[in-house]
């Protein structure tokens, strides 16, 4: 299936998490801390909240916990 990461289309296997699609797009900056430091996935199991991205306009989604859906639009560093 295809998802868009920061406007770039990537193809991922069905069942992949959004965090995988972001990584497949070559993006390592998922979000920034309150003081502007880069952040990305740490735990991969929904605990650390570091992998949050915007999915279809919704802020602060934990990308490691949300399966990709065909046509999804993902934005990082927002």
């Amino acid at each position: 299936m295809k998802v868009s990461v920061n406007g770039r289309e990537v193809t991922v296997a069905a069942g992949s998490m959004v965090s995988t699609a972001v990584a497949a797009a070559g993006v390592s900056l998922y979000r920034r801390s309150v003081t502007g430091e880069p952040r990305g996935p740490v735990c991969g199991m929904g605990i650390c909240f570091e992998c949050r991205v915007r999915i279809d306009g919704r802020e602060h989604c934990r990308s490691c916990q949300i399966p990709c859906v065909d046509g999804m639009e993902v934005r990082t560093d927002v």
Partner: protein, 369 residues
């Protein structure tokens, strides 16, 4: 024999900190007694709204003087105080509340507090996430927001703080739990809702509040939003009540309130009150449901029967001062409180007349009653 000070203050919240800062500025030797983190009680729990309130002439005088003091120092506050000059919007839901907006506007005009009436359309433009159909609002542009614990720490930057509990308080000084006695010319009880434990008999009660804060959604709200019905909630002294209150933070987070309860002494979240409070927020801002709350907590306001703080000497022990009872306005009124306490101690002309806040007023009211 222990050490001696000009002024010994029990309580390292923002009120104690403001008293300490002003006393030190007046040249007095000051010590603050605080066993917990500085600004860790009601100071940390509160919203940090710097606001002019008009419940009574004495409340107007105290909040307005305090807000002027905050405005005067806004450029010298450190960044972690997160000063945000966002203004307040008093939101009117219907025509009856809009009439109250106009009454408030006339009053503020009369005392030189800038205010502007917004019609329904201007309100919707100013805060697009408010529901449609609201009647309007009063914008008070010079109100603001701070992060109170860091403000308290800033005020105490040059003050000696003893990290020990006070167990006994009198006009002679403060006895600490470890037995140390801090002798003082003046002792100040600034322990908020816990003040009656050190000064039994004073009419201060705990009034519990719940709050929630969201993740970062910059721009979701841009003013402190308060429903005008808030006054009905704040004035009710019997029933538990909630009122819509939303506030932007410098971080982009949205702070949500408010609730009021007497008789609940547990710090635990009560889910029925939290749910009721958030339902009220949703009535005004339906899209709040799309946001993620990351933390909820409670705190205890120090409430007095006449809604005014207790500031100044206790009649039975004139070297013992009170600086408590600020209820939901302690962050705003901390600065004028500190100034008044220092004025009274050193014998300066008070920055505003002190009589409405003197502890003795309650005794008089009782004789009459």
């Amino acid at each position: 024999m222990g050490e001696s000070f000009d002024v010994a203050i029990a309580g390292g919240g923002i009120v104690g900190a403001a008293c300490a800062e002003e006393c030190r500025a007046a040249g007095l030797k000051v010590v603050v007694v605080e066993p917990g983190p500085v600004g860790g009680g009601a100071t940390a729990a509160g919203m940090g709204h710097i606001v002019v309130m008009d419940d009574s002439p004495a409340q107007i005088a105290l909040t307005r003087c305090s807000r002027d003091l905050w405005l005067a120092r806004r450029n010298s506050l450190p960044a972690n105080v997160e000063y945000l000059p966002c203004g307040t919007l008093w939101v009117a839901a219907d025509q009856e509340e809009l009439a109250e907006v106009h009454r408030k506007k006339a009053l503020y005009d009369g005392i030189g507090v800038r205010a502007e009436v917004l019609d329904a359309r201007s309100l919707a433009e100013a805060e697009p996430h408010l529901r449609s159909g609201l009647a309007g609002a009063l914008l008070v542009p010079d109100d603001s927001v701070v992060y109170p614990p860091c403000a308290a720490r800033h005020m105490l930057r040059d003050i000696e703080v003893r990290r020990e509990a006070a167990v006994q308080l009198s006009g002679q000084g403060i006895r600490l739990r470890d037995g140390t006695f801090l002798a003082a010319g003046i002792t100040v009880n600034a322990t908020g809702a816990w003040a009656p434990e050190l000064t039994p008999g004073i009419e201060v009660r705990k009034r519990k509040g719940h709050l929630a804060i969201t993740d970062r959604y910059p721009g979701f709200v841009t003013h402190v939003l308060v429903e005008l019905g808030y006054l009905k909630s704040a004035h009710s002294t019997t029933a538990d009540s909630v009122a819509f209150n939303a506030q932007p933070r410098r971080t982009g987070q949205v702070l949500l309130g408010s609730s009021r309860q007497f008789g609940s002494e547990t710090a635990a979240i009560e889910s029925h009150m939290l749910a009721r409070m958030l339902r009220r927020v949703r009535e005004y801002m339906p899209e709040i449901s799309e946001l993620t709350a990351i933390r909820t907590w409670t705190g205890f306001r120090a409430a007095t029967p006449d809604k005014l703080p207790l500031i100044g000497p206790v009649p039975a022990d004139p070297r013992l001062y009170l600086a408590t009872g600020h209820e939901g306005l302690g962050i705003t009124t901390s600065l004028a409180t500190g100034r008044l306490v220092a004025d009274l101690i050193v014998g300066r002309t008070p920055v505003i007349p002190a009589e409405p806040y003197l502890p003795g007023r309650q005794a008089e009211a009782h004789h009459e009653g």
